[in-house]
Symmetry: D2
Subunit: 335 residues, 4 copies
């Protein structure tokens, strides 16, 4: 039985990690930390009543090192890199759900996150935890940078076409839509029910932090310089990301060829489902699936992809990564 | 043209007051105060862009007195009674949307609101602003205590039967359900979208502050000692209150007699619609109507009533009161 | 491996049964019937893409008998009793999710469902599939009448107090609220998104079919003549039932005693969680849990209970029953 | 007082037309037709209880001609053109909310709507009812083709830039999102609450009927051959359209210049609000406003526009057109 710590246990991704791990036959949550909460984890997450019976504890590195083998780090960025080096030094393996180890260039990190990276030597060497692209590199790692939710959706949708030279890497528009849980559990006016409900809006137009992450990973994966115009929107629903992607064909192609390329790329993947119908976020809610399809419309390649931002976009892929670094069947607790 | 001030202008009730007053031919919003915001009112309420063009100002009693004839006080309780006496002293008339002047007994106020009332001589003498019960008393007043949203729904549903001695005043159960806007615009975890959406819950079971208000007003109106068991619930929707009320007949009666009593009571009221069908909150959303019906089921009197908590439950009845104290047609800006 | 048939496979309960059975290590869905659909099950339920790979077939008794060991009957009432006798005659065991075998008296059935029961000898002898009350009787059965969603919620909330003589069996008010999925997948104006969203309403006031079912089961279970006033409401959310129940104490009691009785009753039950906090439907969404608590308010016993109408209120308890009649661990595929 | 008929009175656009006309001092609804309903209009639209007191009648041309001066035709396409010629022949003026008179070329109509146009001589001569572009032509007309909801949003967003030669007319992507009321009130599985709620999806990718309408009007208005890639999506909310539009600058430009062009174009328009902030559908819900802004991002012109599909996208602009052809102040009943 692998002993699991959840660092930063009061938010939504932590909740989802714990919910998924309930079903895991080889993992046991032994530590859940919080700086603000004490008492049973279920006091903050009543849905876990009777399922996670440990109490919140203050994050104490020695206690974590003693009581856990692997930690899911669910802290905000910055807090994450303040905590992870000591965990690694104590031989605790880490799946980091924050953005702190995703970018490979410290100056890019500083530009987008507004502070200096304090653990820069690990940037560029930490594996990006998207198993469909980096499965072999993830196995055996002590630290995995779990991808962002918009990022996973976009990369899973685009990688097959970029790798196959089917689309122009410089003229990509990603019009993305997310449920509100992606905004986290810190109370803000903008994410109050009465603000988001019955409303659809765009935000961070032209300056969302997932844009450089998408470009970096797709550029690395395809060996080309990828540029995306990325627009996130907020949808009045709990869960789900929908990406409508517009690209320019790199050469003459047909919808059949595009679909075939997509099917071929994911033929051995359990969690990416290439579909013919237009996908809906509802069809992947509460699952680790990403559904994706492609169309050729008026000379443009349109890729439509959906996933559950809390599962395949966060906690689910984190458990996938946990399974990979723990040498468990990758699908454990995820079907 | 009556010059109107909105005191405490950043919340939802203030927004609704301003939205309604846009349509008022005899009112002009001249002052909107806020302690936290500066700049145009539309920066906090983008829906008012081009409609309310004044800027937020710090609440300065002299400026308010100079620039306004009537104020809608949209402050939280306590802040309201700190502000209103000086307004009244400057001959500004006030419709108070807080709870500060609703209860008639300072000790009851202190018990339920947790602090001493600092303007106790006005308790018991301030008129309760429910026009369907107290229209004549409201006219000509300088201060009106605007009712609570649950309270209005419950009183409008019950008063006809209590006044007609058709139900037992001691055995009343009010199972009430409200949209989330009623919880206000201050950010709290409990009212985040991702907490409220896809969830139905009860709160303040046995100890909600609207219970003593309901009992006081219904007792006064009916001349009987009324006791209610009041249970509020939160519904994943923006607007609307639904009250399902269970009472015991005070004597042998029929559903027809009950319906007739209800129709008779509201025969001259524009804003209370006695209906035969089961009401829905959607049918009164964005209106000043309260829809109500009655059933006799298994020996119990069941009353079902709906209104929009932001309009008939707050800003709409406030404008009704404004019209009454200003000697305008009561329906102005409300249809 | 038990071979499972899903009879009437296009609706929501069928979808949930199939979704849950994906996780069942000893069950395989071999037949899914539909009179209207052909082609892959995933064409009607895209969320099952890659998970359920059989095609819809017309309901042919011989084929079902040959290819299945147990059937989940997800047909509407009436259609269900037209189909089940032949399945049983072919030694196929059946969990019936319709109402056809729940009531024990054919005349009560006829009164509430409007047609004669064509298999009346099985009424009164078919076990009511609520494991928390009838676990031992369910084991080994060939036919189980799966409970209604409102019914399960109400019975689980009330049985402990009725059996312990703590509440008056004659003065019970059940104010129940349900998500819209409970209304099924047949298109009707009343369940369109634009009708239900941003609306709260009551329906079937005084005449809902779950009322006689609640009374029958609670009377049988407690040995008293139970009468309930049952009011269902529609909540703008997909899933979840919330029951607010008002009862009169049968004798002097305290809230502690009431809570203790509740805890004692469910001390060995995995899927009923007695909680101290006020429950929320969100906390049990997508789970097989029923959360319940009790309060003593102004001399009334208030019981608040929640469950997911699609899981613990339908497909989840059906899988529980499937596990019991198949001699599997009752929790299999449900945690 | 202008006597108004509502032809096809059971759907959502008819409801909104009647709701708005309540506030109109010079209009009275005298006839509301339906082929399926009889009895009071409020039986189908309970929100109109006490406001619209006429009964549904079967659509009889003579009766309509006798009792009305202007009709709002809220029928589906095809039914509309079967009805309108006789109304016009009887000197009843018509605002047609269907698509039947919007396209100017009968062969384009036939291609997109799948049947021959039976009143082709009026195509190409009927004015397109978008007052911001065609105000002068609308005045005095007997027939106005009220625009589609997606179409209005797209045209209002794009016309200023096309007319000013600021964007390439051939490379326009319109990623549009709509609330569910736009799908109408006919019951279908796809628009059930339990299908749409908690889901985001695309539909009619590459083949939505509003695309040729957008292209025709923008080409006519700008004198250029405009081509758009139009993608509609369904948002889990009642009301609102959000358009995220991506265009290529036609020449070197700046965000300031783009904003200035937008402001200049709408400087005298009451119902189009050029804003600096990112618009939200909530800010225009239940209003006749269209909020629009522009950004220059990574070399692309991004235009973001919102309106209420039921008001500015249907019934509100219809009342604007009604006011124009009736020689009333254009804003009457719309603020």
């Amino acid at each position: 039985m692998v002993r699991v710590g959840v660092i930063g246990g009061t938010g939504y991704t932590a909740l989802e990690v714990m919910r998924l791990l309930q079903r895991h036959p080889h993992a046991e949550v032994t530590v859940v930390t919080s700086r603000s909460e004490t008492g049973p984890v279920s006091s903050s997450h009543p849905s876990l009543t009777g399922q996670i019976t440990v109490n919140f504890t203050n994050p104490d590195p020695d206690e974590i090192a003693e009581k856990t083998d692997v930690c899911f780090c669910c802290l905000p960025h910055k807090a994450s890199m303040d905590c992870i080096p000591s965990l690694l030094a104590s031989d605790v393996r880490v799946v980091d759900l924050s953005a702190d180890y995703r970018l490979s260039d410290p100056s890019v990190y500083e530009k987008w996150y507004g502070h200096v990276h304090t653990d820069p030597t690990r940037l560029g060497t930490t594996v990006y935890g998207l198993p469909e692209l980096y499965r072999d590199q993830i196995r055996g790692q002590n630290l995995v940078a779990n991808p962002g939710c918009y990022t996973s959706t976009s990369i899973l949708a685009l990688a097959p076409f970029l790798k196959a030279d089917l689309i122009d890497p410089q003229a990509i528009i990603i019009d993305a839509k997310s449920g509100v849980s992606g905004a986290g559990r810190s109370p803000k006016v903008a994410t109050l029910y009465a603000e988001c409900n019955e409303s659809f809006s765009a935000y961070s137009v032209g300056n969302h932090r997932h844009a450089p992450e998408i470009e970096q990973v797709l550029s690395n994966a395809s060996g080309k310089s990828v540029e995306v115009l990325f627009t996130p929107h907020l949808v009045p629903m709990d869960r789900g990301i929908f990406a409508t992607i517009y690209a320019t064909p790199a050469r003459d192609t047909t919808e059949s060829e595009l679909k075939e390329a997509l099917r071929a790329f994911y033929s051995n993947e359990k969690f990416v489902r290439v579909v013919d119908h237009l996908p809906r976020t509802k069809d992947v809610a509460y699952t680790n699936f990403c559904d994706v399809t492609v169309r050729l419309v008026r000379g443009r390649v349109m890729i439509l992809a959906v996933l559950d931002n809390m599962i395949k976009g966060a906690a689910g892929v984190a458990v996938q990564n946990f399974n990979l670094i723990s040498d468990f069947d990758e699908e454990t607790a995820l079907l």
